[in-house]
C-alpha cells in the first residue's frame, strides 16, 4: 500500500494529494491517505464515489492518525 502523509494539511489538500498519486499504484492496488483533517473522513469516500475508485475503509496509522484506504479501480 502506498501511504500518503497528509498530516497537518487542511481540506482540500489531502484529496488533491490523493488525486495526484492514485496513478502511482497499479489498478487493484491500495493507497492510504493519512490525514489529521476532519473533512478527510467524509471527503475520501465521497471522492471515491465521484471518481469511481473503491473506498476500502478507515484504519489507524502507528501514531493513531486515521488512514483512509482506497483501491484504484481504473
Amino acid at each position: 500500500m502506498l501511504e500518503l502523509d497528509c498530516r497537518g494539511l487542511v481540506c482540500p489538500a489531502p484529496i488533491i494529494e490523493l488525486a495526484r498519486h492514485v496513478g502511482d499504484v497499479e489498478i487493484g492496488e491500495l493507497l492510504g491517505v493519512e490525514a489529521t483533517d476532519a473533512a478527510a473522513r467524509a471527503d475520501v469516500p465521497a471522492w471515491c464515489r465521484m471518481t469511481g475508485h473503491a473506498y476500502v475503509g478507515e484504519e489507524k496509522a502507528d501514531d493513531g492518525v486515521p488512514r483512509y484506504v482506497v483501491r484504484r479501480t481504473a
Partner: protein, 379 residues
C-alpha cells in the same frame, strides 16, 4: 473614520448580487412599514393595565393572530421568542421534559440544524441520530424509538433544501412527541402535520431578525426547560419585542400571499443553476432535485477550498454561503454533508430571494465555472 452608523465600504449599488437569502432575507417591504409604525406606538409593557400597555398588548395580539393565521395554527398555540434558536430550544427541551416518564433519549435526524443538536447535547439526555440517504432525506427504516422521549425532525434541510417526510415520521411515532424545526421552510411552504411543537424564525421569511416562533399544540405535554419568568406567560420569557413581532407578522402574511407565484419563479432560477452547475466537471449538486425548498441549491467542487471560493465570488460581487470549513484543521466540516456522504470541501450554497432576477443568475453562472477553474489551477 466612519461612524458606527455608516458602514465602511459598501460597494456601489446594483453591482452586488446577494445569493444568501437562506442565511438572512432582506426585510420585506410589507414588514418595514408595520415595524416602523409599531416602534412609535408599541413601546410599553403589554402586561400593564394603562392605556399605553393596552396599546402594546393590542399590537402583540394582532401580530400573534396574523402569524397564527398565516401558518395555519391557533393563536393560543403560538408564542413569539427572541430567535429561532430560542424557539428550537424551548420546543425540543420542553417536550423532552414533558415526556420524561416515557423515556430519556432525544432521537433526531442526522441533518438537524446545529441549534437542535446543541440543545440535545446541553440537556444531558442520551441522543440517537437517524441516518439519511444520499439526498439528505431521513431513512425511516433507521428510526429506532427505544427509550425515546422525543423525536426531532426538521421540515426541510437548511443546507441542501431536501424536504423531510415529516408526516411519515409522525405516523411511526405512536405517542412519542415530535418536534419540528421548520425554520428553513416556514412561510415558503405550508407547515407539515403530526408534530407536538414546532419552531420557526422570522428573518428567514423576510421579517426582522431576533424574532422566533414557537408553536406548542394544545394538549401537548410540555414543561418549561429554563428558569421561570414570573412576568411572562407559559412558553415565554423576557420583555417582548412587540414592534419586531408585528414586522414579522406583516412579512409572513405578504410572503404567504405571494408564495405560489414567487416559489415558481425561484424554483425556476434554482433549477437553472442546478442544470448549469451539474454540467461542470468534478462538481456535484447535492440534495433532492425535486422534493426540495424552492429557493436554495448546494453543490460541492472537488479540489477547491470552499471558503476561498466564497471569498473570490464575493470579490466578483456575488454573495454566497459555504458549509466547508477548510481554514483550520480543528474545524469540523458540515455534519449535514458528511451524513449524506457528500463532499464537504468546495461547498457552496446559493439561495435566491424575492429581489433576485434572471439577470443576476445569468451573471453568476457566467462567472462561476471560470472561478472554480482558476482556484483549481492555483493549487
Amino acid at each position: 473614520m466612519p461612524s458606527a452608523a455608516t458602514p465602511g465600504s459598501v460597494p456601489e449599488p446594483g453591482r452586488r448580487v446577494y445569493l444568501d437569502s437562506a442565511s438572512g432575507e432582506p426585510l420585506h417591504p410589507a414588514a418595514h412599514q408595520a415595524f416602523v409604525a409599531a416602534l412609535e406606538a408599541a413601546y410599553a409593557d403589554p402586561r400593564r393595565l394603562h392605556h399605553s400597555g393596552r396599546a402594546a398588548r393590542l399590537v402583540l395580539d394582532n401580530a400573534r393572530a396574523a402569524t397564527a393565521e398565516a401558518l395555519g395554527v391557533r393563536p393560543d398555540e403560538l408564542t413569539f421568542t427572541s430567535s429561532g434558536t430560542e424557539a428550537v430550544r424551548r420546543g425540543l427541551l420542553g417536550l423532552r421534559l414533558g415526556a420524561a416518564r416515557r423515556g430519556s433519549r432525544i432521537v433526531h435526524t442526522a441533518v438537524e440544524h446545529s441549534a437542535v443538536l446543541q440543545a440535545a447535547t446541553w440537556s444531558g439526555a442520551t441522543t440517537r441520530a437517524v441516518a439519511v440517504d444520499a439526498t439528505g432525506r431521513v431513512r425511516l427504516d433507521d428510526l429506532d424509538l427505544t427509550d425515546a422521549a422525543v423525536v426531532a425532525c426538521q421540515s426541510a434541510n437548511h443546507e441542501v433544501g431536501t424536504v423531510q417526510p415529516v408526516a411519515e415520521v409522525a405516523a411511526r411515532l405512536g405517542d412519542v412527541p415530535l418536534f419540528v424545526d421548520a425554520c428553513a421552510s416556514a412561510g415558503r411552504l405550508p407547515l407539515p402535520d403530526g408534530w407536538s411543537a414546532l419552531a420557526a424564525s422570522a428573518h428567514k421569511w423576510g421579517g426582522p431578525a431576533g424574532v422566533g416562533v414557537l408553536v406548542v399544540r394544545r394538549g401537548a405535554r410540555w414543561r418549561e426547560p429554563f428558569p421561570d419568568d414570573e412576568r411572562a406567560g407559559e412558553h415565554e420569557s423576557g420583555f417582548e419585542n412587540v414592534p419586531a413581532f408585528l414586522g414579522a407578522a406583516a412579512a409572513l402574511q405578504a410572503v404567504v400571499a405571494e408564495r405560489e407565484e414567487e416559489n415558481a419563479r425561484m424554483n425556476a432560477l434554482v433549477g437553472w443553476i442546478r442544470r448549469v452547475v451539474g454540467t461542470m466537471p468534478d462538481v456535484e449538486v447535492v440534495g433532492d432535485p425535486v422534493d426540495r425548498l424552492p429557493h436554495l441549491v448546494t453543490f460541492s467542487c472537488l479540489y477547491v477550498d470552499g471558503e476561498a471560493l466564497v471569498t473570490e465570488l464575493d470579490r466578483l460581487g456575488f454573495e454566497v454561503a459555504s458549509g466547508s470549513a477548510c481554514t483550520a484543521s480543528s474545524l469540523q466540516p458540515s455534519h449535514v454533508l458528511a451524513a449524506m456522504g457528500a463532499l464537504t470541501h468546495g461547498n457552496v450554497r446559493v439561495s435566491v430571494g424575492r429581489d433576485t432576477t434572471e439577470d443576476d443568475v445569468e451573471r453568476f453562472l457566467q462567472v462561476l465555472p471560470g472561478t472554480v477553474e482558476r482556484l483549481r489551477a492555483r493549487v
